[in-house]
Amino acid sequence: MLEGKDLACVRGERTLFSHLNFTLHEGELLLVQGVNGSGKTSLLRMVCGLLAPEFGDILWRGKKIGAARESYHAEMAYFGHAPAVKEDLTAFENLDFSCRLAGVALDREEVEGALGHLGLGHCLNLPAKSLSQGQRRRVALARMLLIKAKLWILDEPLTALDQAALQLVQSLIGEHLQRGGMALLTTHQPVVIPGVEPRFLQLTP
């Protein structure tokens, strides 16, 4: 279970949000909402452990994420604004290396399977610089599938994707939740996942 207790975020002189509380249980989806600049990305980076909260605590299975960093990061996967795809490596190499660095060693079929699942089967061996923005984001999404994390933290996962990919990503999130996973995501688009009633977290100053 993921819990945020009395969180506050200050960027520069401005308080983006304060007294923010949330809980996230297995199989639940939490949608973070708010206007541009309301601190959605900051909240997600905080939950990841990239940004220290100005005030308050984030607890994973009852322990502060700072204290249980290694076990927390082993169960968490983050999909940020930058897709973490190296232009000089092929799609396959990108995915293979990023999984290995996350501590998951896979054989060739699994990696190729995940890329195929995301519709990149035909560009496995193309250097990533020849892929479009949307395709690079698909490579990053394939990584989420392979590292088998319990908690998905997704920052705007639906931008730069075509209609088919939108459907695919939403069904992937649905499958993840059915397996008992949890997801925290920000988006400006409507999210429709059959059988899942998302909870909302509104960010206000």
Binding site: L50, P83, A84, V85, L89, L101, A105
Partner: protein
């Protein structure tokens, strides 16, 4: 076990990237050769003088070339989001930071060591001094990568970071320069290089143990 796997995967990735971007590696190497070759043109063809300064000139050039390559260490990973993902792996930061620095040394330090003997011969260094030059670079260039990594991590994401790195890092390189060039000097004058080399080795051990922690702290600040 897992630690070794991570370092191995990181090294393989960094070396693959370096192979795909050979231009970056060659730029540093040519810079090294050109800087060292400028000195004889500037001070004139006095063989005795050149022999005396040879060791120092090669070392100063190595310092400048090492500086030039620091920009690549974290900046690319920072820009494309890879650095965030590395921070979020369960591996302790000190481990993958050590791996990254090791890879940086293999790509930017080792080529300098391989070319240095040619430059040494240009300056008319004796055989013994050439051997000491290579050995001192072998001990010294990893220190340049280790210390440089702190500067690279601190200036990450700053405008004009490249110049700032030089100001931060060059003063810290001074001990390496003194003992590195001193070792070659000692070998030339027959005083022996052992004392300088042992000090250089000591600096390497110290830097290897301490700098990854400093880099880890600096990266945490830069990423926020």
């Amino acid at each position: 076990m897992r630690t070794m796997q991570t370092i191995f995967a990181l090294l393989r990735r960094e070396l693959t990237l370096a192979m795909r971007r050979r231009g970056d590696v060659l730029t540093v190497l040519f810079f090294f050769v050109i800087v060292a070759s400028l000195f004889p043109l500037g001070v004139g063809p006095d063989t005795q003088l050149l022999r005396l300064m040879g060791g120092g000139v090669v070392w100063v050039s190595a310092l400048l070339a090492a500086m030039l390559s620091l920009g690549r260490l974290f900046a690319n990973d920072y820009a494309d989001g890879t650095l965030e993902q590395l921070v979020l792996t369960p591996t302790p930061p000190v481990i993958w930071i050590t791996g990254k620095i090791l890879a940086h040394w293999m790509v930017s330090g080792v080529p300098l060591i391989l070319v240095a003997p040619v430059l040494g011969i240009q300056f008319g260094l004796s055989n013994e001094a050439l051997g000491v030059l290579i050995f001192s670079l072998l001990l010294g260039t990893p220190v340049l990568s280790l210390i440089g990594a702190i500067g690279a991590a601190l200036t990450l994401g700053l405008r004009g970071g490249g110049v700032l790195v030089s100001l931060l890092v060059l003063p810290l390189y001074i001990p390496v320069l003194i003992f590195g060039a001193g070792a070659v000097d000692g070998a030339m004058s027959g005083m022996g290089a052992e004392a300088h080399l042992s000090l250089l080795g000591g600096i390497l051990i110290l830097a290897f143990m301490l700098t990854p922690w400093a880099v880890s702290a600096a990266l945490r600040i830069s990423i926020e």
